[in-house]
């Protein structure tokens, strides 16, 4: 026991004196979200500024200036954000014009056809802006007409629409957090743990300190447990810092995206926090086991990185289905590692706790971690793998090792 403690402490000491670890596990989690936040706010301010000053170029067929649409065209001319130009037929493909208006008869009624380009955001925005102008113009005309007939101008709207959300602001917060948090946590925990996992196995082999350790009193199993504990701890730290940074930043991230009448509160209750933290620990232990299992095969740091990259991608795969915010935990999904945990997080953030699924999730993860550790311990006793220096891992040697591990050598 004491050996495990001493060994783990040494690993931690060495790790946090290395800039890479401090960067990926501590600085990055704390700085990333504020930075993203700043980026988003800046981008939005920039785009908004651009949009406000953006003048849409509208070309129209000269015939529109006479006839029924004339007053509409006049009203458009008086809009500051539009620049109108009469043209027979412009080439809309060129960036010179955003929309083109021409006469069109629909059901025997003279209407205005508005050509726009759906693949160009500017053109789409011009289209929407003109639709808004059409609506307000029509409303004005209708009002005027009604009043001229002796009716109230308001009668142009025979009934009103009033929409509102019955969701409590905490619910909305939970929904948004549930959409963003699981993905972010998964990726950042893996990122924080990758470097220590590789460094403590392949990195040590490369530096030669592996043999130094091997020749000391503690057994291989003790050494493995202490390294595993170390990587899990770093992952957990990374996860906790990420969680903290996310919760602190998210209000600011979302605020600019809200409508004026909405407000969002993000109160994370103690039960939710507990589930989140427990989840962070579980993911950390799982990810640590997965990464170390890959990097044990490597003899140099570079090789270790190459071997863990596929594992990294596997861990990141749950991101794809998770991008659907309405995905929910069910008995089938509860069996898929990582996805199940991410969904438990999501549900916890929305205030739902399903003990059965939670237990199932923990169970699956526990089984996989134990399996990984068992295989790891066997691998560490395999001489072919552990001894000597030489060329990098290839299939022949890999198969030999696998045979050795399961053949009980």
């Amino acid at each position: 026991m004491r050996s495990i403690f001493v060994l783990t402490l040494r690993e931690l000491k060495s790790a946090f004196r290395e800039s890479s670890v401090v960067l990926y596990s501590i600085l990055l989690p704390l700085l990333l979200y504020p930075f993203l936040l700043w980026l988003m706010v800046t981008a939005m301010t920039f785009i908004e500024g651009q949009q406000e000053s953006r003048v849409f170029r509208v070309a129209y067929h000269p015939a529109l200036a006479e006839g029924d649409s004339a007053s509409f065209i006049r009203s458009l001319n008086s809009e500051a954000r539009l620049k109108l130009e009469p043209l027979e037929s412009p080439a809309l493909k060129s960036p010179d014009y955003h929309v083109f208006l021409s006469q069109q008869e629909v059901d025997g009624v003279d209407s205005i056809r508005m050509d726009y380009l759906g693949d160009r955001p500017e053109s789409m925005r011009a289209n929407r802006y003109l639709a808004e102008l059409e609506q307000s113009y029509n409303e004005e005309e209708q009002k005027k007409w009604l009043e001229s007939q002796g009716y109230s101008g308001e009668a142009s709207r025979p009934f009103l629409l009033d929409g509102r959300s019955t969701a409590a602001s905490g619910d909305v917060g939970g929904y948004l957090l549930g959409a963003l948090l699981p993905i972010g946590l998964l990726v950042m925990i893996a990122l924080g743990g990758a470097y220590p996992a590789i460094d403590t196995t392949a990195g040590e082999r490369e530096r030669g300190t592996w043999e130094t350790l091997q020749s000391c009193a503690p057994s291989m199993t003790t050494i493995l447990i202490s390294k595993y504990l170390f990587v899990s701890l770093v992952c957990t730290l990374s996860g906790v810092l990420n969680l903290f940074a996310m919760l602190v930043s998210i209000r600011s991230i979302v605020a600019p995206l809200l409508r004026e009448d909405e407000s969002i509160t993000f109160s994370v209750g103690p039960q939710t926090l507990l589930v989140l933290l427990a989840g962070v620990v579980c993911v950390s232990f799982f990810v640590a086991a997965a990464l170390m299992l890959c990097s044990i095969f490597a003899r140099t740091f570079r090789e270790g990185q190459a071997l863990t990259t596929p594992m990294f991608m596997v861990i990141a795969l749950p991101v794809l289905p998770l991008s659907d915010p309405s995905l929910e935990l069910n008995s089938k999904l509860a069996l898929v590692p990582l996805v199940n945990l991410a969904l438990v997080w999501r549900q916890a953030l929305q205030g739902e706790f399903n003990p059965i699924y939670i237990l199932q999730t923990l169970g699956i993860l526990g089984v996989m971690v134990t399996l990984a550790l068992w295989v790891g311990a066997r691998l560490l006793r395999n001489e072919t793998l552990m001894t000597g220096s030489g060329p990098e891992m290839d299939w022949k040697r890999f198969l030999g090792v696998v045979k050795g591990v399961f053949g009980g050598k």
């Binding site: 205005i112 726009y116 759906g118 029509n138 109230s152 025979p158 629409l161 009033d162 929409g163």
Partner: protein, 678 residues
């Protein structure tokens, strides 16, 4: 470039089978996954997913009629309601509809409506008719409910419009217009706007992600292993070695690009990807254009990676530098997503960003060969510039050998210096995030207390103490010549003018939204804040505290790592970033640059404090008196700028210089402690 070395470098790279796997096979496998995801995403965006929404309707006169007439039965299905709000909460309903009366407008309106729209008779309650209001309840924490809400609002509004239109038709009113929007873009063009940015980002991802390990290892790793020294003592000169390595990496990257294009072509050919088929609008020339663009990006990437490798003392360090470069490049490659950007703008001069905008245009079949040429040229020129810089580095004497190890005081200072920037980054993050969680900190007083005193004074002070540095040395407050003081006083208005001029210049290129400016004025709340408070909180406090933090602690921490001009630039950039708001960063950094120069010139932060306090106070005074520097003629700003430059130059001439830098004119002050003897 040497052919023999190139051949061996290529061999070395190609024998790294894992790199081949990562840069060639993996993208080939991933591309269909990407396409599939984009497809699915595109479908969802256009709302083509499963949607029969369930709505409940509470009993209310006439609502049934409206709903029946307005809503599309294939999209909306009614569900019997018991406790509507509860059902909505549970998720058994997507929407809940009710009707109430419009209290504001009186009975006369109701009367009018009854007369005008006889088909709506059932809507009105017995007795006094009034305008009905249809209430739509939904849940903003469920996507389905939100989508249902938007749809139902659309359909109800449309129905309402039809009612009015019918009325007007009947009475032959002849008012209003009808716009019929027609999307004249082709499916191919629409697909291009979707796939384009994804493709650009994917390409950068593959170029930087896949082959980077080998490229980064090429100089840094070899230096670590000692094989680089072996090369350096061969008959080849270092420039040749660098170019050979470059071509090895570039050739492989270009091959990778070719493979990816072929892969793309495969999918386009079999119809998984909308592609311009006619040669006129794209077709084969489009493929060639894409290949050319990817190839030059590959060449640029090779130069970039080699440069990072040359700057790092080990492979691990190279990877550390690589990570932010990777993130930034990836972000730039997504430039196609920003709506306002077109390739015929200054964007084409930026690597990765230009292609990010051009690629969607190529896919849409409307690209300009001239712009393509321009972007290729830009990438190649920058690659060349990077290589020249790399070679310059490699030719330095100390390229192979490390620095002498530091012990004692020098070691502690080195740690202080290395940790300063990350710690300031954390402070910046705190500045951005903490106030938004505590409303009290967002007020003027709150900012004064938290930002200025805690972040800019307390935290840097703790930093200095933690690393055992001498505060007097770190934040020097020496007195200066009278003539320098006078020059500083003159700098106050001149600097203000120059900065305002710069703001204007910036504003004409990148207009600031009205809302941002309004928010700032709200914060200041000129009417309710007494002038002395404004002077204290905006004029005096920032002038002292920010100087303490930036021109004091930060400048001192970095003064051994950079030459004076570079140092001033770095400190100014950091200072600018702390001002967070995009439109304030540049003018603030501009002033910060000059203040850093003052500190470096005189070896004391007092001139900078004087100028800073003066500058801010001047701005407050102008605001209070309703004056501003905005509307002045252009040449006034120019005068300000020229005056600022001249005076600063004079101060640099007259000042004693900052100890420990090349500007220091040592007399009595011995500067920093020498390193302990090894």
């Amino acid at each position: 470039m040497n052919r023999v070395l190139l051949k061996y470098e290529l061999l070395g790279l190609l024998r790294d089978t894992r790199t081949i796997f990562l840069s060639v096979l993996l993208p080939v496998i991933l591309l269909p996954v990407l396409l599939f995801t984009m497809n699915k995403f595109g479908q969802r965006a256009s709302g083509g997913m499963d949607s029969t929404y369930h709505y409940g309707r509470e009993p209310g006169t006439g609502l049934e009629e409206i709903v029946r007439s307005a809503l599309d039965p294939s999209e909306f299905r009614e569900v019997l309601v018991k406790d509507g709000e509860e059902m909505l909460k549970e998720g058994n309903l997507d929407l809940l509809l009710r009707v109430k009366t419009d209290e504001e407008n009186g009975a006369s309106l109701g009367h009018d409506i009854q007369q005008l729209y006889p088909q709506m008779e059932q809507l009105f309650t017995e007795g006094t008719p009034s305008r009905p209001v249809v209430e739509i309840l939904y849940r903003s924490d469920r996507e389905r409910s939100m989508r249902a809400y938007f749809k139902v609002t659309e359909q109800l509004a449309e129905f309402r419009g039809r009612l009015v239109a019918e009325l007007l038709d009947q009475r032959e009113a002849g008012v209003g217009v009808k716009l019929f929007p027609q999307d004249v873009s082709t499916a191919q063009e629409r697909a291009a706007s979707l796939y384009g940015p994804a493709l650009s980002a994917f390409m950068v991802l593959m170029l930087l992600g896949g082959g980077s390990v080998a490229a980064l290892d090429s100089l840094a790793g070899e230096r670590e292993r000692g094989t680089l020294s072996t090369l350096f003592v061969s008959s080849l000169d270092r420039a040749t070695i660098a170019w050979s390595k470059f071509w090895a990496v570039a050739l492989i990257s270009v091959t990778v690009a070719l493979v990816q294009i072929a892969n793309l072509g495969f999918y386009a050919f079999f119809g998984f990807l909308d592609w311009p088929t006619s040669p006129g609008s794209g077709g084969l020339s489009g493929f060639l254009a894409l290949f050319l663009l990817f190839a030059v990006e590959a060449v640029f990437t090779a130069a970039l990676l080699l440069h990072i490798s040359a700057r790092s003392s080990s492979f691990k360090e190279a990877q550390l530098f690589f990570f932010p470069v990777f993130l930034v490049s990836f972000a730039l490659a997504l430039s196609g997503l920003i709506p306002a950007l077109e390739s015929t703008s200054v964007v084409s001069l930026v690597p990765f960003t230009g292609p990010g905008v051009l690629i969607p245009e190529i896919l849409a079949g409307r690209w300009s060969p001239l712009i393509l040429l321009l972007q290729c040229l830009v990438h190649l020129l920058m690659a060349y510039a990077l290589m020249r810089s790399t070679i310059g580095r490699m030719q330095r004497e100390d390229f192979l050998g490390g620095q002498a190890p530091q012990y004692g005081q020098a070691l502690i200072f080195e740690r202080f210096s290395n940790h300063a920037l990350p710690l300031f980054a954390l402070l910046c993050a705190a500045l951005f995030v903490v106030p938004s969680n505590f409303a009290v900190l967002s007020t003027l007083e709150g900012q004064g207390l938290f930002n200025q005193l805690v972040l800019f004074v307390l935290c840097p002070y703790l930093l200095v103490r933690f690393y055992g540095q001498d505060l007097k040395k770190v934040v020097p407050v020496k007195g200066v010549d009278l003539r320098i003081v006078l020059a500083c006083l003159a700098l106050i208005p001149l600097g203000q003018l120059a900065a305002t001029g710069l703001s204007h210049l910036l504003g004409s290129l990148l207009p600031a939204p009205v809302k941002a400016l309004e928010m700032m004025m709200e914060l200041l709340d000129l009417e309710n804040t007494p002038p002395w408070q404004l002077f204290l909180l905006i004029g005096f406090l920032p002038g002292v505290c920010e100087e303490f933090a930036f021109r004091g602690v930060l400048l001192h921490a970095l003064h051994k790592r950079f030459k004076p001009w570079m140092l001033a630039l770095v400190v100014a950039a950091v200072f600018g970033f702390f001002h967070v708001n995009f439109f304030r960063i540049l003018p603030t950094a501009y002033l910060g640059f000059f203040m850093a120069l003052l500190t470096l010139a005189t070896g004391s932060i007092l001139p900078a404090v004087l100028v800073h306090v003066g500058n801010n106070s001047l701005a407050v005074w102008a605001m209070l008196n309703g004056m501003d520097f905005e509307g002045l003629p252009g040449y006034v700003y120019l005068v300000g700028f020229v005056g600022q430059v001249l005076l600063t130059g004079l101060i640099i001439r007259w000042g004693a210089g900052y100890p420990g830098t090349v500007w220091h004119r040592a007399e009595e002050d011995p500067g920093d402690l020498p390193a302990d003897p090894v």
